[in-house]
Amino acid sequence: MADAGSDSAQEVGSEASTPSSSKRVMSLLSVLEISVTEPERRTGVTAINMKETYTVYLVETRITDMKSELLPETFTDETFSLWRRYSEFELLRNYLCVTYPAVVIPPLPEKKIHMMWQKLSGGEDKFDPDFIERRRAGLESFLLRVAAHGQLSQDKIFHSFLHQGEGWKEAVLATGYQNKMDSRLKTLNAQFRLKNPDRRFQDLKNYSSELEANIANLLKIRERLAERLYGIHKIHANYGRVFSEWSGIEKEMGDGLQSAGHFMDVYAASIDSMLEEEDTYADALKEYLYFADALRSICRKQELLQYEVEKLEDKLVYLSSQKQQMEQGVDVKSGFSLKGMTTKLFGADTPEVREKKIKQLEEQIQQTEEQLQAAKWELSTYIERSLQDVERFKRQKVRDLREIFINYSIMQIKLCKKGISLWNNTKECFTKM
């Protein structure tokens, strides 16, 4: 279902509210190169004194424009590198999620293998070189996306992630972001019954589910296809072997068969590099699988905020009617009212007590009204910001997905051309026999 999220009014409105808006915002990425390389195994000790092995990655940065204003002040060295492990990336991401709730935060590569079909391809072992390499690529992509985001790229914690060797973890914890996180995390898991769910976010939720389902499906089938194609090519190596053996007993046909066998071996070997390339596109698609999750969490936050608003509205209505009843209770002489009954039974409040109660209620009402205003303001700001970032995300998504499809098609074209050339060569071996 197509997402009908924002309209032009949203975007125009958002321009004014976001800081540093200009025609085309350059982000940190335009002056800084980031790469994640050289995974290495380390051993260390956990918090409970148990030995552990883990992988660290080298995060390198290189400044391409030393004079740029976009550069944080702390970035003084043209090139800089430091080691980071996966849990630190996770920490960074959690921090960003809590600190910028209205932003679609880029995903990290998976921590564990959770899909069956991945297990089959040997990715289960977290020290498997293939798994580590693909994770490395995912981590790099994460950093690049953060650096490309106008708002995220300006975050100090992000900067120090890139440039602060010691004490970065402590710095993150010092921000106290966890406090913000805990209270919200608990409620984030609940479902919210909203009286007037926002249509835009409902659509967004549906869209993200579809996106996730479609990509998951695609990846599953492509994995199967890759295995089959691999099998088909490798079987041709058997042709190579039998042609070679056969050539031994033939006189005139010997040379032709021998060369043909050689080409069959080439054909069999040619699939490896193609499948490696295809893996990178599959990984790029997988990123968007996780992005779907990020979209959903945006929706959940909106629901939470709206829930707060509705709750407060309800409270206000209740308090107001309480007050009304209180006030009416003074004048009622005729007609049945519960207050009247209890008054008769237990004695009425004295006028002073009643006054006090009414005053209390008025205070509460005042308080609630203020809270409601604040909640409403928070909700509307959130909606504005999040929808705007969702739009940015969507545009990026279109670009990214299109590029993936283009590259995949180019790869297929390359494969076909290789195949044509190879079978032509093989044919020549036979026609010249």
């Binding site: 540093s20 079987i235 053996e245 670009r399 590029e403 993936i404 499809f405 283009i406 076909c416 026609t431």
Partner: protein, 511 residues
């Protein structure tokens, strides 16, 4: 080239006449070459060899240009071919007892030993089997071409059109090879097969089962016991064994390939629709996704064709050569047994000669005859006469046997030479064909993906150019984030249109 007669064999050498197997039935003739029938009939009426040859040249020219499916089986310039046979038109017959298929066998000939110029009969597989058995029995020294196997295992349906087509082609080839053989083509069993209205009565002739068994037992032992077998026969034996084994391996590889390719095709069938389904959630990317779906579908179709070709065009000739290797083993055995007989005869002769020598010096006084009252000298004389007769018989037998051996060797040599020539040509053609099919498959896939690429790129021209990788980009490993992307919308110039087509420039489009 999936025509009916020869699975995958294209024409042979244009020089000289060959075993032109006759016109193809229009039903299974994709190249529509039945027009050649008319020319052929006219040419066959000419009796003179010279005329026939020039017409053959015409035929050959015609063959070259349009009859790519017909096969000239024998390139010997000296052979005269005046017998042409076609197999076509499979028909199903259902009786109370069984159901079976018959094929129409059409013969056209100018030979004088045939009563008529043309014959049309219907034959079933059993009849072909009979013919082959008879040929083997009457021509033990010759290599008899193989018949396709009785049962097909891959397709359990023995009446499926593909199976019938393949079998028909194999039967055609079988007959063509016989007709092209200088000796076999004159065999009376062949004549009966081609001309008799009804074969059942002929088939009931005693086939000499006991004799067959006896000779087969002898031939089994022959190979091991031959004393004077020339090493070339051992070489031949080795070659045939290895060749047969290699053909078997190739056949098994084929089967595996077919299975994998079929599985791959199944998965491809699921792959395309996922893109189509996904395109329903997207507006801007929908054309690109539909383009992907289209590309995958076209590849799947190409693969379907490739699988069919692999199974019906490439596999049958390989199987046939496996059977040919078996036929060669059989004829080698028979040759061995003929030589065996010769050697046994010589042994016998030598034994008798030895006996005769012994007799001269022996003392017959203690022989049985003397015991019965005969004069020992007379006994000696009698025995001597008997031995002389035997030796004379044996000498004759040895001569005959020697002739047999020489004939057998000559026949075998000639047949093998012919076989090697044909094999080389067949291998060239069959495997070139296989390569062609693969090339075609990849070409179809190539154009499918080029089209897809175009469709994907079409939309992109309307997008911000700076953020796109051009088709010539060489390192697409990570998603393109090299150029800055803004998290904040630049001023939106145009209002987005509903149907997803961009009204204005800039990246203010939806999704």
């Amino acid at each position: 080239m999936a025509d009916g007669t020869d699975s995958g064999f294209s024409e042979g050498q244009p020089s000289g006449p060959g075993g032109y197997s006759g016109p193809i039935s229009p039903d299974i003739d994709p190249l529509n070459i039945t027009t050649s029938t008319v020319d052929l009939e006219e040419s066959l009426d000419m009796g003179a060899e010279g005329d026939a040859k020039s017409t053959r040249d015409d035929i050959t020219a015609l063959t070259q240009s349009s009859l790519a499916g017909l096969r000239l089986d024998d390139a010997l310039a000296s052979d005269v071919h005046d017998l042409f046979v076609t197999v076509d038109d499979p028909e199903k017959h259902i009786t109370n007892m069984e159901s079976y298929i018959t094929y129409r066998v059409t013969t056209k000939t100018t030979r004088s030993d045939y009563d008529s110029h043309e014959y049309v009969v219907r034959r079933r597989y059993q009849d072909f089997l009979w013919l082959r058995e008879r040929l083997e029995a009457t021509n033990p020294t010759h290599l008899i071409p193989p018949l396709p196997e009785k049962h097909s295992f891959r397709r359990l349906d023995r009446f499926s059109p593909e199976f019938l087509k393949t079998r028909q082609a194999a039967l055609q080839k079988f007959l063509s090879r016989i007709v092209d053989h200088p000796t076999l083509s004159f065999n009376e069993n062949l004549t009966i097969f081609l001309t008799a209205k009804e074969l059942a009565s002929h088939r009931k002739q005693a086939q000499g089962i006991m004799g067959k068994m006896g000779s087969s037992m002898r031939s089994m032992a022959a190979g091991y016991m031959l004393k004077n077998r020339s090493p070339e026969y051992a070489t031949m034996q080795e070659y045939v064994n290895t060749f047969g084994a290699k053909m078997g391996t190739i056949d098994r590889i084929n089967q595996r390939l077919l299975k994998e390719m079929t599985d791959y095709q199944q998965d491809l069938r699921e792959f395309g629709p996922v893109f189509t389904l996904w395109s329903n959630s997207e507006t801007e990317l929908a054309p690109a996704m539909l383009g992907m779906a289209g590309g995958v579908e076209k590849c799947e179709k190409a693969l379907e064709q490739q699988i069919s070709d692999q199974e019906h065009v490439f596999a049958p000739p390989v199987k046939e050569y496996i059977l040919y290797a078996e036929a060669m083993k059989a004829v080698l055995k028979r040759r061995d047994s003929i030589q065996m007989e010769y050697e046994l005869t010589i042994e016998e002769l030598n034994r008798k000669r030895n006996d005769r020598e012994q007799l001269k010096m022996s003392d017959q006084s203690y022989s049985l005859g003397a015991f019965l009252g005969k004069d020992p000298e007379e006994v000696r004389q009698q025995k001597r006469t008997k031995l002389d007769t035997q030796i004379e018989e044996l000498l004759k037998q040895v001569e005959v046997s020697n002739d047999s051996v020489e004939c057998a060797n000559a026949d075998l040599k000639a047949d093998l030479e012919r076989w090697h020539r044909n094999k080389r040509r067949d291998v060239k053609e069959v495997f070139s064909e296989l390569c062609d099919r693969n090339i075609q498959y990849y070409q179809e896939c190539l154009s499918a993906w080029e089209e897809t690429l175009q469709e994907i790129n079409q939309k992109s021209e309307l997008e911000t150019a700076s953020t796109l990788a051009t088709p010539t980009s060489s390192c697409p490993a990570t998603p393109n984030l090299a150029t800055p992307t803004s998290s904040i919308t630049p001023p939106l110039p145009a209002t987005p249109t509903k149907d997803g087509t961009e009204g204005g420039a800039g990246d203010g489009e939806k999704q």
